[in-house]
Amino acid sequence: MTVYGAVFYILAGVILIATGLAITRRNLVHSIVYLVISFFGSAMLYYLFGAPLLAALEIIIYAGAIMVLFLFIIMMLRVEPSALRKPTLRQWLPAGVLGLIYVAVAILVVTTDPGSQTILETALARPRVFGRFLFQRYWLSVEIVSFLLLIALVGALYLGKAFVKEGGDQKEDQS
């Protein structure tokens, strides 16, 4: 096993442990912090797989913007620590059986594919090459995604604004 392989297994272990801790914490702030650790590990994996621009974007967008947004919302709302849902045996038995069948089939498919056993070579897509490729072949998709982000912005603004208006009306009604 080369150095890169060892780095991959270490990062994978750290990510899995951090995510497992994140999804089981009762306190939401703790799980957000564990999730930031997990996303930092994912960014390093992106770099290991030869995508330095995506690694930077992962830290900026996921670990930065999205997690800070979650933190703001958690601080804004009064969130009581929530327990895990406890389904009965009759509820989770079919789901568990079907999930186990999927896991078995997935392991079978992945391990019997002869091409998946070859060790990956390291490669690096420089940001300049990546950006040129993106805007030469997928410029229309970039425009569509920018439109989607604009719509999301308008939707979030509308949802925030609509309540203020109705809340004011309710107050007037009460008085």
Partner: protein, 101 residues
């Protein structure tokens, strides 16, 4: 020389399953949204590994689009959660069982 592609797929699959567990088993709207984020991240990891395996840049391009989708989904989802919280005063999805104002 890194690792076989199958190991990366297994790792992404485990991460995706963790996201599903978080989205299904937690009694909190914010944790359900976080579960969706974990799933998107796992899909992105699989895409980048596939881009490395076949030496094609398309995989990385699609990860960029996944980032944009995740950002849009989180902004609208959190706005919806804040709206619903102000209406009902709770983040437990089991309290949202009335389909009227």
């Amino acid at each position: 020389m890194i690792v076989p592609y199958s190991h990366i797929l297994m790792f992404a699959g485990i991460l995706f399953a963790m996201g599903i567990f978080c989205a299904v088993a937690r009694r909190n709207l914010i944790m359900m949204l976080i579960g969706v984020e974990i799933m998107l991240n796992a899909a992105g990891l699989a895409f980048v590994a596939a881009a490395l395996r076949w030496q094609q840049l398309e995989g990385q391009v699609f990860v960029l689009f996944i980032f944009a989708i995740a950002a849009a989904e989180v902004s609208v989802g959190l706005a919806l959660i804040v709206y619903a919280y102000r209406r009902t005063g709770s983040l437990d999805p089991e309290t949202y069982n009335i389909l009227r104002w």
